[in-house]
């Protein structure tokens, strides 16, 4: 089976603080990995290192069995959905403009329409991105991530500040992408219930990796569940 991601002894030091300490895990093709952990657990640092935005790390990161320090080509096979899309509110770009930014081959532009339909936002295609609700914008950013047929989708806590209905729709889309289109997913989340429903693998991160394995195994371990649901509750309170 193809190893989509291998992280070996990843350590990241910021001035005066160790953000990640000797983290190792592997993601196989078809996995749906939920990464959970409190704020400041190093999730953003982990993602930044994986996506080539932080190059000051010790250890090894391999995508599709190639070290990312050797080539940046792996980025072409990855779709990335950021935590909160940041852009000028009145940026003059329609939904189609925004999705097309990621499209590398102009010849595949009918793909845009197809993906917008799949994500229930095709009727918004000619609206400006800044006019949409948070949930709709989030789906546009998934469309962006999907437009190049990625093998892997990486999502950074993608439902912060989005209403419940949009969140549910979002989760069902993720599930379908993983089960029907066989896209491997790495997803960091606060929502332990959603992780239980969706992910088949779990990584518990708090600067170092406390657990990595199958989802069932995690939910059998009461101590871990209690610890991380408390962490997720605190997080939840913190956000409101």
């Amino acid at each position: 089976m193809l190893k989509v991601l291998e992280i070996e002894h990843l350590t990241v030091d910021y001035p005066g603080v160790r953000a990640l300490d000797d983290v190792s895990f592997t993601v196989n093709e078809g996995d749906f990995l939920g990464i959970i952990g409190p704020n400041g657990a190093g999730k953003s640092t982990l993602f930044a290192s994986m996506l080539g935005m932080n190059t000051k790390y010790k250890g090894k990161i391999k995508f599709f069995e190639i070290d990312i320090k050797k080539s940046k080509d792996y980025l072409k096979q990855i779709g990335y959905v950021p935590q909160k899309p940041i852009f000028e509110k009145n940026f003059p770009a329609t939904v189609i403009d925004v999705v097309r930014m990621d499209l590398r081959k102009e010849s595949e532009k009918n793909k845009i329409d197809e993906i917008l339909q799949q994500l229930w936002i095709h009727e918004l295609g000619n609206r400006r991105i800044g006019e949409l609700s948070g949930g709709q914008q989030q789906r546009v950013f998934i469309a962006k991530a999907l437009v190049n047929n990625p093998k892997l989708l990486i999502l950074d806590e993608p439902v912060t500040g989005i209403d419940q209905q949009s969140t549910d729709l979002f989760y069902s889309i993720l599930k379908e992408l993983n089960s029907k289109q066989k896209i491997t997913i790495i997803w960091s989340s606060h929502d332990l219930d959603a992780v239980k429903q969706l992910a088949n693998h779990i990584a518990c991160l708090n600067r170092t990796l406390f657990f990595h394995g199958e989802s069932d195994e995690f939910f059998k371990n009461d101590e871990l569940v209690k610890q991380y649901s408390e962490a997720s509750m605190q997080e939840h309170m913190h956000h409101h």
Binding site: M53, K76, Y80, P82, P92, A93, R100, D102, R128
Partner: protein, 271 residues
């Protein structure tokens, strides 16, 4: 207005080069405005003032020295800004004042203001030569081709740098390219509206066009339309009534801006 004035060679050159500059400033300016870099054009223009003074003193064609000085200083200031984490507006202020300071000192050394300096400060579109016109058209063509070829990269890195980087775009190179294009555009446009009003052409048609709520390409086309209208009408009107062309052009584009705000507040245009 008599059509006769259109038969004058100087008027034809002014209108053609004016329209080309209008297109150039709209396109390059849109990226600057969206990057919250609206005053960068102004800063480059002021630094080119130092270059113009240098050229006049050394007896070199002042626009050549202006290109050299403003491009080098724009790239240096961008480098310093990135390296030492200085904010965009502060770096603009440094660039702006150093250009003027250098210009003033050089002018002082070389014996005071001359009429030439005024034509660069306030523009002299009716004086453009055939060679100037050819150069303006060539530079406009080159920059437009670059923008079309790198359209996706330019747009994406303006929309969201981090995401553009993750998608494999070399954002830093694109940023330098935009600074470089802005430098070339500003110096090329000095002949039209002069050093002091240049940022008006970069900014006003674009903020007006953005208010119409359209997508990127349509916004760019609207901005180009507003800009060409202001420049062409401004040149003709100022000639007929014998008033300052640069001021007239900028006032017309401010008029379009004010008109758009008026339409917007009536609710006829959705924003």
């Amino acid at each position: 207005m008599s059509l006769e004035i259109l038969s004058f060679g100087f008027m034809q050159r002014a209108l053609i080069s004016g329209a080309a500059i209008a297109i150039l400033c709209s396109v390059v300016g849109l990226f600057l405005v969206l990057r919250r870099y609206s005053l960068f054009g102004d800063a480059i223009a002021h630094s080119s003032f130092g270059g113009i003074a240098l050229g006049l003193m050394a007896g070199i064609y002042p626009l050549w020295t202006a290109y050299g000085v403003s491009l080098v200083s724009a790239l240096i200031i961008t480098r310093i800004k990135d390296r030492f984490n200085i904010s965009g507006d502060a770096s603009v202020a440094v660039l702006l004042s150093s250009g003027i300071a250098v210009g003033l000192v050089i002018i002082g050394i070389s014996g005071g203001f001359t009429i030439d300096i005024f034509s660069f400060l306030f523009g002299s579109i009716l004086l453009v030569s055939v060679n100037d016109t050819i150069m303006i058209l060539a530079l406009t063509g080159i920059i437009l081709i670059v923008v079309l070829l790198l359209y996706r990269q330019l747009l994406y890195s303006t929309f969201n740098e981090e995401q553009a980087q993750v998608s494999g775009i070399q954002v830093e190179k694109i940023n330098y390219l935009i600074v470089f294009m802005a430098g070339v555009t500003v110096v090329t446009s000095i002949q039209l509206v002069g050093v002091l009003l240049i940022s008006a052409l970069f900014v006003i048609p674009n903020v007006t066009a953005i208010m119409y709520g359209k997508g990127f390409k349509q916004t760019a086309l609207l901005s180009i339309t507003f800009s060409i209208f202001s420049v062409v009408t401004g040149i003709l009107v100022s000639y007929v009534f014998d008033i300052a062309p640069a001021g007239t052009i900028v006032l017309l584009s401010i008029g379009l801006f004010a008109g758009t705000i008026g339409i917007r507040s009536t609710g006829l245009v959705k924003t």
